[in-house]
Structure formats: C-alpha cells, structure tokens
Amino acid sequence: MNPDEVEFLAEKQLISIIPTFNSNVIHLISGDVGPFRASLPVRVPLWMAINLKQQRKCKIQPPDWMNIEQLEELKEEEKRSKTFVKMPSEHYMIEAKLLLNYATDDISRADEIRTIIKDIWDIRMSKIRSSVDTLVRNAGFYATVDHLTLMEINTMRPLLPHALDQVYRMKKAQSTRLPTQSTTLSLLNSSHRGSSLSS
C-alpha cells in the first residue's frame, strides 16, 4: 500500500479545531460536523481540519500527547523496552507529519517535537528490521505485530510477506512436483491425436 493511502485512512480521525468563523452544522455523508462558533473548539475529521487551516479558517489544537514531556517519556520507554510500546495514537506519525507541516504555528516547540517523534520512529524502525530478520530466519508461520501502527506495518510490506511466501515455497513438502508436467499416458494420447491410426 502506498504511504498516502495509509495517510488517507488516518485522515478520518477526529481532531479539535478553533474556528474563526460561524456556521451551522454541515451534513456530511459520514455524519454531521459543527455547528461552528468562532473561538469555540469543535471536533472535525483531520482532512477537514487541514483544509480549513489552509484556508486560514481555524487554528488546530494539537492532540494531548503532542507535548515534549510526554514524548520524552515515551521515547525512553521505547528505548528500554524490547517489544513495541503502545503509542498514544493509532496514527501518531501521520498526525505529527500533517500537523507539523500545515499547522506549525499552532504547536509550541514544533521543531523539538518533530525531532523526538522522528527519534521514536527510528527506534521502532530498527526494532522492526531485526524482528523481520528473525521471522524470516525462523521461518515463522505466524507472528503477532501488536502495538504497531498501520504506517509501521506498511513499512514491512512487501519485503516481509513476500520473503515469507518464498520461505514457505521452499519449505513445502519435498514430494510436491510442479503441475506443468504431463504424465506418460496423456503424452501418448496426444501424440496420436489427429493421426490416422486413432480408431
């Protein structure tokens, strides 16, 4: 899957904005949003928040976890832990990327936050690489990937599943032969096909 498709899935997540305009409820197909009252926070899907922000119609309220203290703690925990730590958001990387790109002015200490999140991502990526290697070496036919976010899982594609597919092929019982070969019987039948001898 393309990373922008994963991003697309994450964009339906709700986030708080502070609108600079007034408007009635908007009846989207996916449900109602609003009403919008200037300076009163309201929850909208992420894609809409970015869209409104680009039109300078709102400020975005960063999610609670997007602060230095909490992220530092998370980073330390991720370093200490052998397994993957549960992230405060299912799409932490995407939210961070979008907000840091489009709403930097709404986030305090944005640059530091960017660095810490990148650190956390990198630590997790390196854990992912060693687990992928272990999985292929052990020829495991099943593994849990709990606490990994969708974007992180997607970074294992296509290498991990495709490598396991090949391991599986190689492990398959010795006796199996490819189906393309014909047996002696059908061979003689077809070599006589159309010849005048076939009675």
């Binding site: 922008d4 002696t184 061979l187 003689l188 070599s191 006589h192 010849s195 005048s196 001898l197």
Partner: protein, 201 residues
C-alpha cells in the same frame, strides 16, 4: 528441437519489461513451423511403430522414446508461444489503463493485427463494465487513482497539447510550459498520460 527459438521470444519480452517491443512475426512463424514439423514427424513415427508391430516378419522398431522427446519439445514450444502472446496482451491491458483508449502511433505500430483487434475489444468490454456500475450511468474507474488531497492542484503543461475542454464547458489552450491551477479531477488523466506535470510546492 530444443525450443530455442520459442524461448528467444520469451527472452525478448524479458529484456523489454515495462514496454512493448514490436510483434516478432518472423520468429513466431519459425516457431509455428517447428511445431508443425515436430507434430508431423511424430505422426510418421507413430504410424511406422504401429505398422511394424502389426507385421510378424520385421523386428519391431519402437519410436516411443523418440516421440516422447518430440512431444516434450512441442509442449515447450507451445508454452513459450502462448506465454509470449499472453504477456503481450497483459501489457496492452495496462496500456489501456495508462494511455486511454487511443494508443500513441509508434506503439500501435508494434502490434499485430490480432493484438489491435484485442485492444479495441478490451476497450469496449471495459467501457461496458464501467457504464454498468451503480444506478446512475456508471463510474469512470480510470480517474480517482490517488487519495484526494486538494480540490485544486497546480500543473505545468509538458507538450503543446492544444485546446482542452473542461467539464463546465470552458476551453483552455494548453501550451508547452504553461502553468494552470485546475480542479484535480480535470487533470488526473492528463497527468497520467504525461501531458501535465503535477507541481507540488
């Protein structure tokens, strides 16, 4: 005998992955000739084996293993021949999605007559399917290939394209290097066809 020519057809596709080389009529003819000859030889030998088995006087000659070797060669030639045509058709299919229903002239020139026919047949099968989806006259599956990010995007024209009509009826003159700010849905196909380049700021 060892299906070298047939394999050369397949190698030709392997060397040209991602494009469609000219249809190799000569080589295809040589392969079909080889197959026809092998079949004929096998028939003759089968008859001779049968005849000698029928007569008590002669020491029977068995061509069973000869026939078997040739049969393997026939099967192999056939497989390569079909794989050549199958994989070419699969490329044509991809081209229908990427270039649209009208192929560039130099690509068209690389097709056999049968392939040209197949291409138009595929185009109409596909169009018929797209029209049948939903209840309101169908869905165009050749657009909306990417998750939408913005309603309007900036594009630069890469060729002198000429007049281009938008869905609201207005007409644009597309010149090489001209820049436009257009609804994404209106540009997507031209970007895929290499007329526009999407400018990301």
């Amino acid at each position: 005998m060892s299906a070298e020519k047939a394999c050369a057809l397949v190698k030709e596709l392997h060397r040209n992955q991602g494009t469609l080389p000219p249809y190799n009529n000569d080589l295809v003819n040589e392969v079909t000739k080889e197959i026809t000859q092998l079949i004929q030889e096998n028939r003759n030998d089968a008859q001779e084996s049968e005849r000698s088995r029928g007569s008590d006087l002669l020491e029977g000659v068995s061509y069973i293993s000869t026939i078997r070797v040739r049969h393997a060669a026939i099967q192999r030639n056939l497989r390569c021949l079909l794989a050549y045509h199958y994989n070419r058709v699969r490329s044509l299919r991809t081209m229908r999605w990427e270039f649209g229903s009208i192929l560039p002239a130099d690509i068209k020139a690389n097709l056999s007559t049968a392939e040209t026919n197949w291409f138009s047949k595929y185009s109409s099968i596909l169009a018929k399917y797209m029209r049948s989806v939903g209840e309101d006259g169908g869905v165009n599956l050749a657009v909306d290939l990417h998750p939408p990010k913005a309603l309007y995007i900036e594009v630069q024209c890469l060729v002198d394209y000429g007049r281009y009509e938008l869905s609201d009826g207005s007409v644009l003159l597309l010149k090489k290097n001209s820049r436009h700010f257009l609804p994404r849905v209106e540009c997507e196909e031209l970007i895929r066809q290499g007329v526009f380049q999407h400018i990301v700021i």
